[in-house]
Amino acid sequence: MDDIFGIPAPLLFGQLLLGLINGAFYAMLSLGLAVIFGLLNIVNMAHGAQFMMGAFAAWMLLAWGGIGYWWALILAPIIVGITGVIMEKLFISKLYKLDHLYGLLLTFGLALIIEGVFRNEFGSSGLPYRIPPELSGAWDLGFMFMPVYRGWVVIAALILCLATWLMIEKTRLGAYLRAATENAALVQAFGVNVPRMITLTYGFGVALAAVGGVLAAPIYSVNPQMGSNLIIVVFAVVVIGGMGSILGSVLTGFALGIVEGLTKVFWPEASATVIFVIMAIVLLARPAGLFGRA
């Protein structure tokens, strides 16, 4: 068997692939954060809670309505997106004129409340959600056993990220959005309903988190804390990529997943820290992030 740096090659390839899969989740979540921050200037600390709500929505649709995975993939983001729209209308819209910290504290508080309510309702030990039969099973790649579902997650994440980037950078709607963040008054003068567009953008960002939650439900424990463990890493990803840079956060998400995967082979205990070490180095060398505009 060939060794690379003392590690058997099959194990190394396996870990690289796993890193790519985890990177898909980082990319999907940081995408929503980057959209919300880039277009609304709100640091959405409730993103992890909304990711969790997506997974719970999928569970509720199945347990209470008998609605399976594929419909949940469409319906759950819509449901959670609507709660995001309500949140934006009731609370967040009041804060656009204030310092970023207020938005951060508000969404952080909302995240704690949402998680507390879910813990009270559904308990802390998690709920079962199975992999859909079409995607169960695994491919034997020779060097590792690759579950079909993980492959699907990577593909779904790539499609989602690409579609979002195209929409914001290449369509007329995206152009309005970007214009509105540069100069809201001017865009409004051209007859565009800017407040509604901002509200829907927040709803869209939240829906992205919910899609991530539905994709995560079959492989992670569906419990009220599932988002809070992930969200800190995802914020680090966004900071490294450059806040508000959509392409940057997607690429950084995948790249850091791979770096983390490799760390798990060479020094498992450091795998949670490595992302923050990279963040510190990036902030010192390029304060605006790798892809950000200073």
Partner: protein, 414 residues
């Protein structure tokens, strides 16, 4: 831009969410004079809520009601949420003892809280009957003559799983371990029994806690070592994630066994039988063990709002019942005056309740109870939503507990 980002990450690192204060009252009995007060101090809002919290309270209330109905002794059960914080637990305990006339504190999941409250009870000469506390220090170096450890400890879990599996031929192990004190202790304890029984530990992958959600890397490392058993030295959501992902990557199909060093029936239900089938774990109670446990489960289930009758419910039932028997035997007046006398009486009297059957409490406060090695049933074997475990092996009560001489409890003379 830079300042904003720094501020954001500072706030992101702020404290984890805590629960709101929580109180509930249950009245039992119509006897004369001030009632005996029992405070169930537990986790009502955090990670152990599903395991303990309402289930523990239901068990204590059941014991109080049954005992009051039979003897006429007035008993009141109140509950408090320690939020897994020792300072909060100690404050509630002091308030209960000093102001609210509480005579005994029950449950205490989370060893840090349990050890702190045990010292308060000793200082005030009250009683602690810990059902949720798992640390062996509770009846070891930090033991108290006013405390009893009723349901389980980590020694029993490690021995019940490690020893029994090696004896059945599963003799090569690899551990997936949470990288903090609890995970290390669980791994070290189990490894000791595996090696003592003639087994071999091939290695361990330690993952950062609590920052890990994806365990596939560590599972593949475990698989590459080619053991017969993977031992999971973790608990709760981490364990559930490990199991789900081990299934996903096809580890069980290659004949690997999964030993969960701290798993309960609540985790089985959370995973669902299709995912959990075949898992091995040790507990001291299961509702379907024998006619007496089934009778107990039938009586208490009305208080559980659809939850399963678990070891916390049973432990708080058995512990509270035995405490009340000792109080009755001493008389409520002397019992209220000296917690030490009550615990001594509890140790002198044999235990017998429907949940655990006959038994006794040892000098160091450990209630001796058998360790049962359970395996999760396959979906086809299960006949109802709570019919999930089958008994594989039993470690007898006297050998399931750590030998008295090894504990190092200062007031025990050996």
């Amino acid at each position: 831009m830079a300042i904003r980002r720094r501020a954001l990450l500072g706030t992101a690192a702020l404290a984890a969410p805590g629960g709101l204060p929580w109180r509930a009252r249950a009245q039992g009995g119509q006897g004369q004079g001030a009632p005996i007060r029992i405070g169930v101090l537990t986790d009502m809002s955090g990670p152990y809520r599903d395991l303990t919290g309402p289930s523990s309270l239901a068990g204590a209330r059941q014991a109080a009601e049954e005992f009051s109905a039979a003897t006429g002794l007035a008993v009141e059960v109140i509950a408090g949420d320690h939020q897994n914080k020792p300072d909060v637990g100690v404050n509630i305990a002091r308030q209960w003892f000093d102001r609210d006339g509480v005579d005994m504190i029950a449950d205490l999941p989370n060893s840090a809280v349990a050890l702190a409250v045990s010292q308060v009870a000793r200082e005030k000469n009250k009683v602690v009957v810990g059902s949720g506390v798992g640390s062996t220090a509770f009846t070891g170096a930090q033991c108290s003559p006013n405390s009893v450890q009723f349901t389980y400890d980590t020694y029993m879990l490690a021995k019940g799983t490690g020893d029994a599996l090696v004896k059945q031929g599963s003799d090569t192990w690899f551990f997936v371990t949470a990288d903090y004190a609890f995970g290390h202790a669980l791994q070290a304890d189990t490894a000791r029994f595996v090696e003592a029984a003639g087994g071999k530990v091939l290695g361990a992958a330690r993952y950062p806690f609590p920052a890990t959600t994806d365990f596939s890397s560590f599972l593949l490392q475990a698989q590459a070592a080619r053991p017969k058993v993977i031992g999971f030295a973790n608990a709760g959501a981490d364990l559930v994630n490990c199991i789900k992902q081990a299934r996903e990557f096809g580890l069980a199909r290659q004949g690997l066994k999964f030993a969960c060093l701290l798993m309960t029936v609540v985790d089985t239900l959370s995973l669902g039988l299709p995912e959990a089938q075949g898992l091995l774990m040790t507990e001291s109670f299961y509702w379907d063990l024998n006619p007496r446990t089934r009778a107990f489960a039938d009586r208490v289930k009305g208080k559980l709002q659809g939850r399963i009758v678990n070891a916390s419910c049973a432990g708080n039932y058995g512990g509270t019942l035995h405490y009340l028997k000792a109080v009755q035997s001493l008389g409520p007046g002397p019992a209220r005056a000296s917690g030490l006398a009550v615990v001594e009486r509890m140790k002198a009297m044999p235990c017998d309740d429907d949940a655990f059957g006959p038994g006794r409490i040892r000098e160091d406060g450990r209630k001796l109870t058998p360790g049962y090695l359970f395996q999760v049933k396959a979906p086809g074997e299960s006949t109802g939503p709570f019919d999930v475990h089958k008994l594989i092996a039993t470690t007898p009560a006297e050998s399931a507990a750590r030998p008295l001489a090894e504990g190092g409890c200062p007031f025990v003379k050996t």
